[in-house]
Subunit: 134 residues, 3 copies
């Protein structure tokens, strides 16, 4: 049994961007079997698991902007003009804890792991991968 | 310290169904103390923890259909007519990472673990349990 | 490699309250490197990670009450008058699984871990910390 830590750096190009990180995460897995905590170190981003289909990813962006409506004014905008980005991050989650098998994340056929940029573009978004297993 | 993996198969009977899997998960726990990642291998489902009260589970279904509204048309529906199912899954989560004590999930008095079917009925929904501990 | 369990008790003072538990959790971490499952044993509460800014925390409360609307009547209220509290807990999550490094939760600069009270005031809210690592 061992614990291994790696990190993944990402540059984003748009205000909202959903980036499939499955293959990059798999390259950084260095245990054979166990679990991995995939954690974004930023409070205007999220980690989610779902299907990588372009239309669906557009629908996801649309749903989030419906849920956190533009029409309201938010207190955090007095300090930093990104309240909606934080609120979307609250609703989603900053981490996922996933199974590893044969040195890869053991996903279903239609699943990918995504980093969701909610306040881009940004350089050096950092995702910490912590693996526990053997 | 050890890592153990098991999986749980479920058949669902309705389009939306919320199934208490606590006792089935407990039967598959084979470490005494540690953590378990409970992960659904499907992008139109979710794993959640809450109270098993029939009225509340109906309220939960009602809330989700309010949040992901029927009135909009979604791009993913051009390919596969289940965008709303994926979007609800995005909002919830495909996994939970829970404590194990005395070879059981160490839940509070009013808590159960649920598999949420968002696009049923389906045969052979698979949930992966990955335990790390001793 | 080892597994360690600790728990944190909290008394809350308001119906909705968001409490930064980062430093209390850090005091209870007793491994050097690994992961920690931070789990609330209550189905009317949540664990989230985001920025500790007072205006933002008010915005978060406002968003949640928009998402789980007062105008509807909920079935669970026939039994126990707190359906909205459970529904907000469903939407958020009862746990987070986070990285530990140098005997602390390895958060980003603008991140804190919060316990979200959704049905207070309550005495003895319990959060279980399960650490796996070395």
């Amino acid at each position: 049994m061992t614990v291994k830590t790696n990190s993944l750096k990402i540059n984003t190009n748009k205000n909202f961007e959903i980036i499939d990180i499955t293959s990059k995460v798999n390259e950084l897995i260095d245990i054979e079997e166990g679990i991995v905590s995939i954690f974004s170190r930023h409070s205007t981003s999220a980690i989610v698991v779902n299907e990588n289909e372009q239309g669906l990813l557009k629908d996801f962006e649309f749903m989030l902007s419906n849920l956190v409506e533009d029409k309201y004014s938010y207190q955090h905008d007095r300090i930093d003009n990104n309240a909606r980005s934080h609120l979307k991050s609250f609703l989603l989650s900053s981490s996922e804890c996933l199974p590893i098998r044969n040195s890869k994340i053991d996903l279903g056929t239609w699943q990918s792991v995504f980093f969701v940029e909610l306040d881009g573009p940004r350089a050096n978004r950092t995702i910490t991968l912590t693996m526990v297993g053997e």
